[in-house]
Subunit: 138 residues, 2 copies
DNA sequence: TCGTACTGTAATTATATTCGTTACAGTTCG
DNA sequence: CGAACTGTAACGAATATAATTACAGTACGA
């Protein structure tokens, strides 16, 4: 679920860069270097979250529905990849006798939750506009 | 590579909790809820980083080689899972014409690097001792 | 109103990663 | 010497991730 975050950011930055702020899934896919179906899947989530509008049919595609300076990577992260920090596998087992084995899972959960909040805070400090600025500065 | 970090933390906390600060891979595996070979693999890294000493042969096992109050989760993260935040898959292609497609990878790399530093900073604020304290407080 | 150019979505396959298992050589102690 | 350990690698199973294909639905324009 993590590289979809990267794809989402890339797609929105590309839309923000284009004069019309609009492109088809094929154009975006070429720029991102993946296939159109994957882009459509990601864009489907971004549409439901209100970041883009879609137009089906001829001359259709995706159009940026927000101001690049007002959307942060944190917003995108929450829509696409929330919870990705915590490993799927967890150690210990609440049913154990040993307090270490039985409580470790809860404690690590708390630590990962806080870590994730910190990560979101950092992502919240970066807008789509800022990413585009960094790209132009390359 | 991410759940090995959890296993490493769990193992070190368990050692810090035990009176002798020592246990075999089988004992640790049972507590963590995995198999001994996996534990030995993780402990092998921790040994090379100086967190534990091992004794082979009869009555052998792993002994904590540091003070629980002086080792942070950041130290463990750097030893076990550094770089795990960045997705394996990267978008764009430096050879492209479009500045977005060609520079996105570099920019995202920088963003993920900083995010990772922040994550380490947070992990550096938590010692093995502190995790054990949280477990006791459960 | 029909054909073309799009999106939406799901099913299927291919590939990579993660985890468990087994095996066995090497080490230490009694 | 034999029992109880670690060190390490090879193999296979399970799971996660990504690509591909397919096709129904929609909108525009001739």
């Amino acid at each position: 679920m993590n590289s979809e975050f990267t794809i989402a950011v890339h797609s929105l930055v590309l839309l923000a860069y284009l004069p019309e702020r609009m492109a088809s899934s094929e154009t975006i896919a070429e720029n991102v270097q993946t296939n159109p179906a994957r882009i459509r899947k990601v864009m489907s989530v971004l549409r439901k979250s209100g970041f883009v509008e879609t137009r089906e049919g001829v001359r259709g595609g995706y159009r940026l529905a927000v101001e690049p300076g007002e959307v942060t990577l944190g917003d995108i992260y929450r829509a696409m990849a929330q919870g990705s920090l915590m490993p799927g596998w967890c150690s210990g087992d609440p049913e154990m006798d040993c307090i270490v084995g039985s409580n470790m899972r809860t404690v690590m959960n708390g630590i990962f939750c806080t870590a994730e909040k910190r990560l979101e805070d950092y992502f919240d400090s970066i807008t789509i506009q800022a990413v585009l600025g960094q790209i132009r500065a390359c």
